[in-house]
């Protein structure tokens, strides 16, 4: 204990001038660390919810099979594409909004806010992780749907583009809702509402929807993911339109993730 009575005085401030700052975490390594931690969280907490997301979509497929005939109809294409993208909406929009809402309400954001980590690393890392949780569920749903509705299975690879891009758009929206909502309950409600909108406007065949609802549908980013995926079931897909739809997803993703990053900064500095 006598050792402790005379701490070494080698700190630079004693020599005059401010102490050197420790290095800040850089964008990509920090993003990778957040992503990896979020994937590990999935093992603990998210797996039951991923099953729920997939079962919900499979249930909707079964239910819609009762009203929509099997075969190459636009109705069948929208049901399968809509159910697949719904998995993404459930996790990336709804669960991410709830996650950030809870983190903000409980003071958990303080942990990140007192580390020298770029805001974008936290938001993009979490968004990327939540979006990638959805890939297996979306593939399972699409495969099951294609079989049930007699659609080709060859184009399922398109999901490898649809899930990340629709995921980026929906996760950005979810993160922004969670971080901007004044209360945790409102974050939860916004996430649920967004998912319900993605369900109703994505799965129901467009031919039967009234015009105002179609306008609303055009405003929802998940719609463009559904459109892109639905187009690929057709015998001679219009690939230019697929790319255009995915471009909309990407654009919305960039904007919504930028808004979410701004919302994170706002939530952590008061």
């Amino acid at each position: 204990m006598t050792l402790l009575s005379a701490p070494p005085r080698t700190t630079p401030a004693a020599a005059g001038g401010p102490a050197p700052l420790a290095p800040a975490a850089r964008l990509l390594p920090a993003l990778a660390a957040v992503y990896r931690a979020q994937l590990a969280r999935a093992r603990v907490a998210r797996i039951p919810l991923l099953f729920v997301a997939t079962f919900q979509s499979l249930g909707i497929l079964v239910m819609m099979r009762g009203v929509v005939d099997s075969g190459q109809t636009s109705a069948a294409q929208y049901v399968v594409a809509g159910s697949s993208v719904l998995v993404v909406a459930f996790v990336a929009l709804n669960l991410l909004a709830q996650y950030f809402g809870r983190l903000r309400a409980s003071g958990g954001l303080d942990h990140y806010a007192t580390l020298p980590v770029p805001a974008a690393s936290v938001v993009l890392g979490a968004a990327a992780a939540f979006a990638s949780f959805t890939l297996p569920g979306a593939l399972v749903t699409a495969a099951a749907g294609a079989v049930m509705f007699g659609l080709p299975l060859g184009q399922l690879w398109v999901l490898l583009a649809v899930v990340p891009l629709a995921g980026a758009a929906l996760a950005g929206l979810g993160a922004a809702c969670g971080l901007l909502a004044p209360r945790q309950e409102i974050a939860t409600m916004l996430g649920q509402l967004g998912m319900s909108a993605a369900l109703l406007l994505g799965v129901l065949p467009v031919d039967h929807l009234p015009q105002p609802v179609l306008w609303l549908r055009d405003l929802l980013p998940s719609t463009y993911g559904v459109e892109a995926f639905a187009r690929t079931f057709r015998p001679d897909p219009d690939w230019a339109a697929v790319v255009a739809d995915l471009g909309v997803c990407a654009g919305v993703g960039v904007v919504s993730l930028a808004v979410a990053t701004w919302a994170y900064r706002r939530a952590t500095r008061r």
């Binding site: 401010p18 700052l21 920090a30 660390a33 603990v44 303080d110 990140y112």
Partner: protein, 332 residues
């Protein structure tokens, strides 16, 4: 003993200088809302290598002060300088100067202890190998090996607190800000925390700012303590210096088996000035009076009614009450 052992010398440079800090918030809604001054002109200086405590009851403004030091809250007015950096103007620098242990663990709850510490190290700017090595070292140092691969959410409150403390230590910082670090911990974990703190101070001259309302801990580990009440520093000294304020007095605690024997004149007289908590009466008085009281209650009918009594020298809590702390004691 504890006041002199390990105390930072008076002449070390300031690590953290706070001047006239004011932070208000609005409580209530609409017309009924009123402005509460959570920090009402706080000034204090923490020297390098010092273990400095903020002591005060719940709601005294300790956490508000700490949140401003860590850049989480912006003060309404006043200045904060940490190791020569203006943290009010550059709140983002705080994260590169200090390690902060807050009261919440929700950000880490679903991670394993090892991954929580490693990720925190990565976000503190360490390389992957650096973070992993630092994590292993800290986990060994704190005796967390048996829990390293269990998620924080599955641990007891004290174990979770220790895991969060481990995360705070990964990635060295010259200043550690710890908000009630040992809440819920068993004695083994507490000792691990204080050993780790002492080691960093001895080896790297680490400064520690500690929020606590645990008087015993404050007396044993702190070099100096600022007593905070209703947003103001009402005293700032060594624990020994604060206790010297009440040096003449002793504290007598009497616990009655059932009803106090008010028929005994000495007890009846005491009834008016004792602080009563259920069957426990506490009185602060001079040693002479205490001796008389002890002899009065350890004979005859009073002794028959007495369950237990203690006579003690003053504690920091007594000093706090003497200073005019308005919350009837620190521990709630």
């Amino acid at each position: 003993m504890s006041e002199s052992a390990g105390r930072a010398p008076q002449d070390t440079a300031p690590c953290c200088a706070v001047r006239d800090l004011v932070r208000t918030y609005r409580a209530g809604r609409g017309g009924a809302a009123e402005t509460v001054r959570a920090n009402d002109g706080i000034s204090l200086t923490v020297r390098q290598g010092e273990i400095f405590g903020l002591l005060g009851p719940n709601g005294a403004g300790k956490s508000t002060l700490v949140r401003q030091l860590t850049g989480l809250l912006r003060p309404d007015s006043g200045s904060i300088e940490i190791l020569g950096h203006d943290v009010v103007r550059h709140p983002e620098r705080a994260a590169r100067l200090l390690g902060y242990l807050g009261q919440e663990s929700t950000a880490l709850d679903e991670l394993t202890v090892a991954l929580a510490a490693e990720t925190t190290g990565r976000l503190r700017g360490l390389t992957r190998t650096g973070a992993r090595a630092a994590t292993d070292a800290v986990i060994t140092e704190l005796g967390l090996e048996p829990l390293a691969h269990r998620p924080l959410a599955k641990l007891s409150g004290g174990q979770r607190r220790l895991a969060c403390f481990a995360a705070t230590l990964v990635g060295d910082r010259p200043l550690l800000v710890l908000d009630e670090p040992t809440t819920g911990m068993d004695p083994v974990a507490r000792r691990a925390v204080w050993s780790a703190v002492e080691r960093r101070r001895a080896e790297r001259s680490t400064t520690v700012l500690l929020v606590t309302h645990n008087v015993i801990e404050a007396e044993t580990v702190l070099d100096r303590v600022a007593v905070i009440d209703e947003g103001r520093v009402i005293a700032c000294d060594t624990p020994g210096g604060l206790k010297a304020l009440v040096d003449g007095d002793v504290r007598l605690d009497l616990v009655w088996r059932d009803e106090a024997p008010l028929g005994v004149p000495a007890v009846a007289a005491l009834a008016e000035r004792a602080e009563r908590t259920g069957r426990r009466w506490t009185v602060r008085t001079t040693p002479e009076q205490a001796r008389e009281l002890v002899s009065a209650v350890t004979t005859g009918p009073a002794f028959a009614a007495l369950d237990d009594f203690t006579l003690a020298t003053p504690s920091l809590e007594d000093a706090y009450l003497k200073l005019g702390g308005r919350h009837g004691g620190l521990a709630k």
